[in-house]
Symmetry: C2
Subunit: 242 residues, 2 copies
DNA sequence: GAGTCTAACGGCACTCAGTGCCACTAGCAA
DNA sequence: TTGCTAGTGGCACTGAGTGCCGTTAGACTC
């Protein structure tokens, strides 16, 4: 007897927030199992609701659409990302903050590997579900872009809006790439390592222009070596010169 | 009497490819007008079909879904992009090729400003249409990624897949940013200028490492100036040194 | 011009997602 | 006990999307 077949408590589960969360999870896992077993289109909302022991009408009180049930905790992720941006250290590099914040998504996927893998096969198979996933990714990509835009604008970047949109897209793409590779490996790869490698790539691509200025040092050959080192050290500020 | 209200030819329009195209356009423009006038959800497929002078069943022979009618020429754009990649000069910088190819989308939007503006207001207003548009963007972003991946792999890039995905996302984001700003201006901005500026930004971010190697020239102060110029010229190959 | 074949079309009926409405009832308060 | 509230289930309805089939325009043959 799988989890999806067990009967939910008789009535009024949703009276308490905890009960509501529980029924949401029950509906979600029942749906995923049915989708995998019988196919997405072939599964009706009636069947999902019945498997969770509730009426069809109740299903639509917990999820707006049939496909929403596959991305049950997406809203949760988005709000958590927004909160993370609010309490982020303003002195840190914005791109770096965005990268570490977006990896919240990876944590969520890793926390429920079983569902993540099933959802992965479904989104690869069913076109409409793939589109739905793309839409959800776009939603948190917008959150990234909004954060980056305000930060870039603070730094006096005239093209803050464009840079923010492009950087957000790059970060989201890197995140998705890591996520997909990890899921394809069945959750066996070292996701943290590949994530930091991927984010390093976008980090060096989008570091603000001031930080990637090429230093051209014009020095007389008569200059004593210590002074050369001092001048270079000043140019590179807190980076090591040796 | 608007275009959407005129009656289409009586029967068998779709027998010839030209007639099929014509009816597609008639359905599309009828739909856009009705969506703008009465709202997207409030407009039924029956009404669209009736406005174009055909039966409801025929509508679904021309478009798979109700929202497809808003992105009528999307498939055309995608295949045209694929063809452009096939005949692209292999010696050109892949990122540059991708940028100039993706601007095909801008051409299509500019070619039918009226519909583009109406679709823009609709995609901003109706959530499901925004999602649909995001899905279409993702589709050509995948085409970009596939092209960039093969090119990067040819160049011996070990992280070709990741770099391709990230660069494709950045290019698509830049393209969309330009497109949206242009539509927000009502089609008055200089779209070509802002496009080249936006693509310059992603170009410098994703130029392959070999092309952005810093040239460090170590030269004796005794070297005659003409020889200095010659050596620098060699180092920069076909770029100007002056 | 008459007969024939093909394929677009329209219409009908059906499934299913999603919604509004309402009656029912568990649980709480007075 | 008597209301009151809110979650629930059932019913009926709209509309998207699909399968099926009879009709007919148009092309092709003789």
């Amino acid at each position: 007897m799988t989890e999806s077949q067990r009967r939910a408590p008789a009535t009024r589960v949703g009276a308490t927030p905890a009960g509501r969360r529980q029924l949401r999870r029950a509906l979600s896992s029942a749906a995923v199992d049915l989708f995998v077993a019988n196919g997405y289109e072939a599964t009706t909302v009636d069947e999902i609701a019945a498997a969770a022991g509730v009426g069809r009408r109740t299903f639509f009180r917990y999820f707006d659409t049939k496909d929403d049930v596959l991305f049950a905790n997406h809203d949760e992720i988005v709000t958590e990302m927004e909160q993370a941006f609010e309490r982020a250290d303003p002195s840190r590099d914005p791109v770096e903050v965005a990268c570490s914040t977006v990896s919240l998504v990876l944590d969520y996927y890793a926390a429920d590997l079983d569902v993540s893998l099933k959802r992965f096969t479904l989104t690869r198979t069913v076109a409409s579900l793939r589109d739905k996933e793309v839409a959800t990714v776009d939603r948190y990509q917008r959150v990234l872009a909004r954060y980056l835009q305000t930060r870039f604008a603070e730094q006096g970047d005239g093209t803050a809006s464009l840079r923010a949109a492009v950087a957000a897209a790059a970060i989201a793409a890197a995140n998705n790439h890591v996520l997909r590779r990890w899921l394809r490996s069945g959750g066996k790869d070292d996701i943290a390592a590949s994530a930091s490698r991927a984010f390093a790539l976008v980090g060096e691509a989008f570091r603000p222009a001031s930080a990637e200025t090429t230093v051209v040092a014009v020095l007389s050959t008569a200059t004593p070596l210590p002074e050369v080192m001092a001048r270079l050290g000043a140019a590179f500020q807190d980076e090591d010169v040796d």
